[in-house]
Amino acid sequence: MATLVSSTSALQAHGLHAQLGRLPVLHGIDLTLPRGRWTSVVGPNGAGKSTLLKALAQLIPHSGQVHLLGDPMSIVPARLRAQRMAWLGQNESSGDDLLVWDVVMLGRLPHQAWLAGPSPADAQAVEQALRATQAWDWRLRTLGQLSGGERQRVLLARALAVQADVLLMDEPLANLDPPHQSDWLRLVRQLLAQGRTVVSVLHEISFALHADEMLIVAQGRVRHQGRCADTATHRMLEQVFDHRIAIVPVAGQWVALARDD
């Protein structure tokens, strides 16, 4: 079957299958993630959200087609792909011995020739990214000297420093305190204003509901994709979480409340 490739999509997948070891995790995922929008991916534990993000980022073996900004992934060279799409993982090992400055500079690798050192433009991008996540003051510390939340902000700066059009983030709020979670929201809004696309896996549903679009995944399949403000999205959210949550409006925002009845 021919795939219809949308020119307004950031990422498009068709018949995406992936497995972890011998366990099939993704069962034929079809999706289109719009360009210049923020899509949050949610679902119960073990639904395959992180695996989906990794498959979209071409980080694990998979079958099926993925298009990045309209181009089939198979014809996009790895370096160009890395320039266009940045990925922030969860629970990745982090180089404790590297300086924060050097860690964020790694985000510039896709833009540097193989044996070339960083250019002034790279240094500028790194400084911008570190300031955007309020991590500039630690630039001469090693990652090992930072707390979990501080480290997460440095790794976020590393992903921002790529200055990619598409940003995939797996649990970017992990270890962040509430003020820095709000800062992250503001940062995402700024990225969207610059025309970039953000895709984030979030387990905090109330935060995920701030996005433009929501992709609900359960048991390795897409159960629903729609606007975060839509009632149909809310009903499907409640359903995949076994009606243990209720989506309600509070102070002009949609919030997920835990139900203990």
């Binding site: 990794k54 980022a57 890395a82 400055w101 790694l106 690798l109 001469l140 590393r158």
Partner: protein
């Protein structure tokens, strides 16, 4: 608009070059000292100018030995830094892929074969043992790679290395048990020694170093990327599969060359990168150079000490590196555990 990194960053960027300069200067000083120290203690280099025998001793024995110790150390330091970066494990050392026990087995087999021939004593060829050690070391790495089905899964590679190390080590011991008269020579090899290093050995190690060091530096950004995890490194567009093959080959070649010339010298490959890390934090591009320079300095210092501590006799340098390196790592461990939150 261009932005210059601020003063603190510029200072930080200069620090590795300062350390490299200091390591090089110390190495040069120590090379001179090592050439001057003989079995009768320190002899002045100036009075030797009129003494042709002493000059020949320096030229043919002490100078190649000192330079050889530095080169072997530099190879082991480089290999250690590659191993620790590639396996993302600070306890990784150059012998991790089974090369040590492979080299031992190669030497044991060569010694037995030589003692079995009637002409053995007459032409005990140092070259033969060197070749056997090299073949054994590289053969063991190939065996490890075969068992691990390539270099793509780090944990499988580590486990295969351990298995190959244990099995080849046991085979080496078995060979020794069958020919007990080779045990003394075997022991000397396993302790490591720079006593037999001549100019030809120096030339071989220098060539290998000149090949391996630039190759490793060219791949240094892959090691930097890997320190943030395999997935992040792949997301940065780094060619991981090809780079891993090249890094393992570099690691095996550097280790094999050092082991073949100087035997199993302990701890230099493990301690040199750690020592560098305790002085300076930098990316692999500079870290690999520094670890290599530090390895050279360490082994040269240990060799000079080994020759002078109980002169006119000498200690096997491997014993000294094991004692000093082990002591250093214990101290490092103690210091880290006594730092709150460290």
């Amino acid at each position: 608009m261009t932005v210059q990194p601020d003063f603190a960053l510029r200072q930080q960027a200069r620090w590795p070059s300062v350390v490299a300069g200091a390591l090089l200067a110390l190495s040069c000083l120590l090379l001179l000292l090592a050439a001057a120290i003989g079995s009768t203690g320190l002899e002045s280099l100036t009075t030797l100018r009129d003494d042709p025998v002493a000059l020949q001793i320096i030229r043919d024995i002490r100078a190649p030995r000192a330079l050889g110790a530095w080169l072997a150390g530099a190879l082991l330091g480089l290999a250690g830094a590659i191993a620790q970066g590639l396996f993302r494990n600070p306890l990784a050392d150059p012998y991790l892929l089974g090369s040590a026990s492979g080299a031992s087995l190669g030497v044991a087999v060569a010694l037995v074969a030589m003692s079995a021939t009637p002409y053995a004593g007459a032409w005990l060829p140092r070259l033969g043992l060197t070749g056997a050690a090299f073949v054994g070391a590289t053969g063991a790495v190939f065996l490890t790679l075969t068992l691990a089905r390539g270099v793509h899964q780090t944990m499988r590679l580590l486990l295969a290395g351990v298995v190959v190390g244990v099995v080849l080590g046991a085979l080496g011991s078995l060979v020794m048990m069958m020919q007990p008269e080779v045990m003394l020579s075997m022991q000397a090899f396993m302790l490591g020694s720079t006593a037999f290093v001549g100019w030809s050995a120096c030339a071989v190690m220098a060539m290998v170093w000149l090949l391996c060091a630039p190759l490793a530096i060219a791949l240094s950004r892959v090691l930097d990327g890997l320190s943030l995890g395999e997935a992040t490194a792949a997301s940065l567009g780094l060619p991981l599969p090809r780079a891993r093959v090249a890094l393992v080959a570099t690691l095996a070649l550097a280790t094999g060359a050092a082991v073949a010339q100087t035997g199993l010298i302990a701890f230099v490959g493990l301690a040199a990168p750690h020592l560098v890390r305790s002085i300076v934090r930098t990316t692999h591009r500079r870290f690999l150079w520094l670890a290599s320079l530090m390895g050279g300095l360490l082994l040269l210092a240990a060799d000079t000490l080994a020759r002078s501590l109980i002169a006119p006799q000498e200690l096997p340098v491997g014993v000294l590196t094991a004692v000093l390196g082990g002591g250093y790592l214990l101290w490092l461990m103690h210091r880290r555990s006594s730092v709150p939150g460290g």
